[in-house]
Symmetry: C2
Subunit: 406 residues, 2 copies
């Protein structure tokens, strides 16, 4: 039978072609956190493009159980053997079968390297997600990276592995996602400066002499983003931007001198890339993490989304130079970025301990950079070559910081 | 002999590789104008990358002669036979040989299609450059297009020819050049809106009732760009932005509804592209035409230039919606863009006549949109299929406009 190309059957062919686009099966590490939940909302919106292969969570049993029932992944990992046993029992009661329940770092690694996962969303906060992210790269899985500590603590190891295995790492951090987009307009060798935008946090205009008296309540009020407690304090000290400087150096293979910060209170321009010819490309969008997640999942495509920014309503964009006196964490980050390796690990680890101490009112706000500076000063120059060495350096820095804040 | 890859000879190999980059030999149409002179300054700066094949000028004999002596092109074209004869005589006196001197439209076409030209810079203002640009495309020469009237009057013909002959057209207009850069970050099908920025001209905040009294002297003061007289008046009426809307529709194959204007008084963001996923890419640079010229010449590469923008000095960027009441030319342009063909030709032609009349104080400032609107109203819907038909429609519109302003 000869079919006319103008017959209604071409519609079927078109649908068939759409069906042929590969379904990406996701391993979501940190599924009960903010990025994990946003990723699942995208899977919900694009069921023909994304599915859930595995979910790795921590201690949020209720949410992990609800996700397992809803998404029927092949595997779920929780923090401990006990939590895993509880989940197994709950799933049995709910009549859910076919979900393998695992636990601990090994469980997270098993989720990250599962044979049915095509793409790994790495969103476990802190260095906890490090081993799983490394394992995913070694297993050849493309990674959407929302965990900036991974790149700060082990960026040299992760990017070397990604190059060796030809695995793309797509940044989900809004700034680095913006940089990734702007980097598509030229060659890496043509990049002159990566400009990371910073909101400046709540103390951008606070007089310097009031910094010692800043309380946790004041520091937890971020002007533009709603985020976790540590990252909110890191925004207030601008250490967060410091970590992003190091992350940018690793992700885009540039020296620290090529990464600069511009304070942009509206958080509308997410970052900029300046090229050697003089052109600067900027990325603008709503402040909604679903946008960089969707970008990473769909790259190099851009699906239509409802996350639109009303450019007609755009009124003013302000930019100013960051104040290194108010925010010594920025200087400390550049120093760590220059030295690399153990210093980057120490910067991140000592900050985490110091932020916890500040939130517990054991040290003042200005004690955060003071603690970091002392830990960095006592850190020997070293370049850990394995994840085990990274974790050891991380533990050492935490111990030194803990002594300082106690 | 076995050579170590670590021997100093790799340096030689590298230089050799650089030498192998092809020299682009340029045909510069409109060589004595502002864009032509800027193009020659770039050839001067990058002598190993660009050379001059041919130069087409108009009536500026002195400058054309100086350029011919300096650049020794294979061919120079001037407006008339008499000017050409004078140039021939002057070159003979100066002892310059090997430069063929031609004239008129045929001379410009000969320059554009010369066998030794690899790339054509089309910068003859108005429809005068149209035939030569069309001929260049038919001859398979990549075009850097600074002449927006070409795209407005004959965009449908030129882009069809460019597609048929697989010839790139690289926009040199700063806005479209910015759009071209921002379009590299996604697929054409993923573009939601092209946002052209407009300075808003000198009358952005002038009360509406003062518009009839605006003088040529007031209208010739543009806040950010120094340009020719017609384009400066077109900026004051925003008809210039209207022509750019049509140019964008043609260059990037989008309907008028997908092209919008945002008023941005600083002229720092040269344009933006909004994608369907919600990301907006913006291009920022100095207001210097050498930047888009260099981009077009070097594309897809970006050579290092001194045309840097000091992002650290960036303070405020303002954006506002354009006022269609103050600037009826914008509405007229959208109407012409929707109808296409003869209406776009009539928009451009009637404006040129009306601007001349305004500068001669024969009609008031508000007479410019009035004249255009009347000419458009009497223009029959038609889509000229040849350059001859375009030029005929252009002449008809000019005649109607001339009657109206006399």
């Amino acid at each position: 039978m000869v079919r006319s190309t103008h017959s209604p059957s071409v519609l079927t062919d078109h649908r068939f072609w759409n069906d042929l686009k590969p379904l990406k099966r996701l391993a979501i590490l940190g599924s009960t956190g903010s990025i994990g939940q946003s990723t699942l909302s995208i899977v919900e919106q694009f069921p023909e493009r994304y599915s859930v292969a595995t979910l790795a969570a921590g201690r949020n049993l209720d949410e992990a159980c609800a996700q397992a029932v809803r998404w029927r992944p092949k595997m779920v990992s929780l923090a401990t053997e006990e939590l895993a046993a509880q989940l197994t029992s709950r799933l049995r009661q709910a009549g859910v079968s076919g979900v393998e329940v695992v636990h601990g770092v090994e469980g997270t690694v098993a989720c990250a390297t599962h044979s049915e996962a095509d793409f790994v969303v790495s969103a476990i906060v802190g260095v906890a997600g490090l081993e799983a992210t490394h394992a995913a790269i070694l297993a050849g899985k493309p990674v959407g990276l929302a965990n900036k500590e991974c790149m700060v603590a082990a960026g040299e190891i992760l990017t070397a592995a990604a190059r060796r295995h030809n695995v793309p790492i797509l940044p989900i951090d809004s700034e680095h996602n913006a940089v990734h987009q702007c980097m598509r307009v030229g060659a890496y060798s043509e990049v002159k400066t990566i400009w990371l935008t910073a909101s400046g946090g709540p103390f951008r205009q606070t007089p310097l002499d009031r910094f010692p008296g800043i309380t946790p309540e004041q520091a937890l009020k971020h002007p533009t983003w709603v985020m976790g407690r540590r990252i909110t304090i890191d925004s207030a000290t601008m250490l967060n931007k410091g970590l992003e400087i190091i992350e940018a150096c690793r992700l885009f293979d540039v020296p620290p001198a090529k990464v600069r910060v511009t304070v942009h209170p509206q958080s509308t321009v997410h970052s900029l890339v300046e090229y050697v010819d003089g052109s600067i490309l900027a990325q603008i969008s709503v402040t909604d993490m679903r946008l960089p997640i969707l970008y990473a999942l769909a790259y190099p495509e851009r699906p239509a989304s409802t996350l639109t920014f009303d450019l007609a309503a755009l009124r003013h964009l302000d930019f100013e130079e960051p104040d290194f006196k108010r925010f010594p964490c920025l200087r400390l980050a550049y120093e760590a970025a220059e030295k690399g390796g153990a210093h980057c690990i120490a910067l991140n680890a000592s900050d985490e301990v110091a932020v916890e101490a500040f939130l517990d009112r054991r040290i003042p706000f200005t004690g955060i950079p003071d603690t970091i500076e002392k830990v960095l000063a006592s850190t020997p120059e070293a370049h850990p070559a394995t994840i085990a060495e990274v974790l050891a350096a991380d533990r050492q820095a935490r111990e030194r910081a803990a002594q300082l804040v106690s």
